[in-house]
Symmetry: C2
Subunit: 257 residues, 2 copies
């Protein structure tokens, strides 16, 4: 069996406007295809930055509206962050994994082990207010809904991945990681397949959607580029489909939580 | 400032033969370009699987030649692995990070926190012998040497990344990670750059070579594909160049070792 294509084409969807709560992301994606002088093709993987999905879903919180609990105040003193921000982080988390000055790593309610529960204070429109942007309530569901809308409007089956920049244990620098996915296998299980010599493969579970998320980051940029959407063409995902939640290691398998 | 291209082209170099100790990898890469009906272009990033670099460098060890120490025997009983294999792992490691039945995670002498010190027993030619394949002695140096040879023969400046599949804390499935790099910034430092609204970026260090390594994995496959080399075209890396060692988090910054 062969897995994966021999060539891929990766392009940003340029010129997306600043996304606001209630915006129609599918429409913005299809306009982006047009600006890239492309037409949606069956099997395209559309990758969206978490940021624009969260903004479209209205996941913005005004810090002025947040009253930090005593626990949040105490933790804020340890990590040297705004107690209102820490309150938001705790509200999105199952537990604190590491807390040090400048560092707050939590287990997000969706299982992601990440800094600040993925709450973002950069690239959020300010207009005087101090806003924070939470992850989507259910990014796999967001990906699935967007996928359905894109399929209906474009007339082709696409996959959707929502990515975010994650820090890693042991490695410097962030990497694009999948927080939502629909229409593809997020985790590819190759257990039992032979290697070139018929010996069972040692590496048998592949974080496929994470590799897609990382690849897309190469054309999406991080800062003032305003390129929060990209397409990976040529993967042609096949069933069975999964979701980004498949990539979360269950606690009982995890040696580093 | 904008960072990164708007589009990338990613293709495997097909039909590489099984690599043997002493093989000329640069020649194999250039033949692979030919079979892909491509010509090397300035700015190409050539990504090679660690496996073929190690094989070309003769990093194969016959387990029959390994005498496990008492410490290796003891650890082998804990992790339920061949004591000779564990002896090799310990010889390549600074320390054991986690040991459980079936799991041996170490800090490799190059700083990588990884399973089995990256020593591979799959896709290694057997011919009756039980062989293990170690990481290259100095994968950044391997990448730099290959880059120089490719530049001399192809007449264009390329970058080289050597990738391997790593497991991750907290996430299921492996992901392509850079163990060697030359001719590009492995770690991109964007500290001090503004976001869209002039606020300093929150995410400021990007594991650029890891994202490249992951992207390339999408066309390289893992098992019986025999596609251990790929090219990412369009990144056009600029100076200053770094090395994969830049991506290793120093112990004093690390909260999970």
């Amino acid at each position: 069996m062969t897995f994966g294509p021999q060539a891929l084409d990766l392009f940003a969807l340029p010129g997306l406007p600043l996304v606001r709560p209630g915006d129609d992301l599918a429409a913005l994606v299809l306009e982006g295809y047009g600006r890239a002088a492309r037409v949606p093709a069956a099997g395209d993987v559309v990758v969206l930055a978490q940021k624009i999905v969260s903004k479209a879903e209205g996941r913005l919180v005004d810090l002025a509206d947040v009253s930090p609990s005593p626990a949040a105040r105490e933790l804020a003193a340890v990590v040297e962050k705004d107690p209102r921000f820490v309150e938001l982080v705790l509200g999105e988390s199952r537990r604190v994994v590491r807390a040090r000055p400048g560092v707050l790593i939590v287990e997000h309610r969706l299982g992601f082990v990440m800094a600040n529960a993925g709450i973002d204070r950069s690239n959020v429109e300010a207009d005087g207010r101090e806003l924070a942007l939470l992850l989507p309530a259910d990014p796999d569901a967001s990906a699935a809904a967007l996928r359905a809308t894109l399929a209906a409007r474009a007339g082709v089956e696409l996959a959707v991945v929502i990515n975010d920049s994650f820090g890693r244990a042991w490695r410097r620098g962030t990497m694009g990681i999948a927080v939502g996915a629909a229409g593809l296998a997020a985790l590819v299980d190759r257990r039992g397949e032979p290697d070139l010599f018929g010996r069972p493969l040692q590496v048998t579970m592949i974080g496929h959607a994470d590799e897609i998320a990382a690849a897309a980051s190469l054309v999406m940029g991080q800062g003032d580029e305003g390129r929060p959407a990209a397409v990976l063409r040529g993967l042609a995902p096949t069933a069975p489909h999964g979701a980004a939640r498949d990539l979360v290691r269950p606690e009982h398998e995890d040696l580093f939580r």
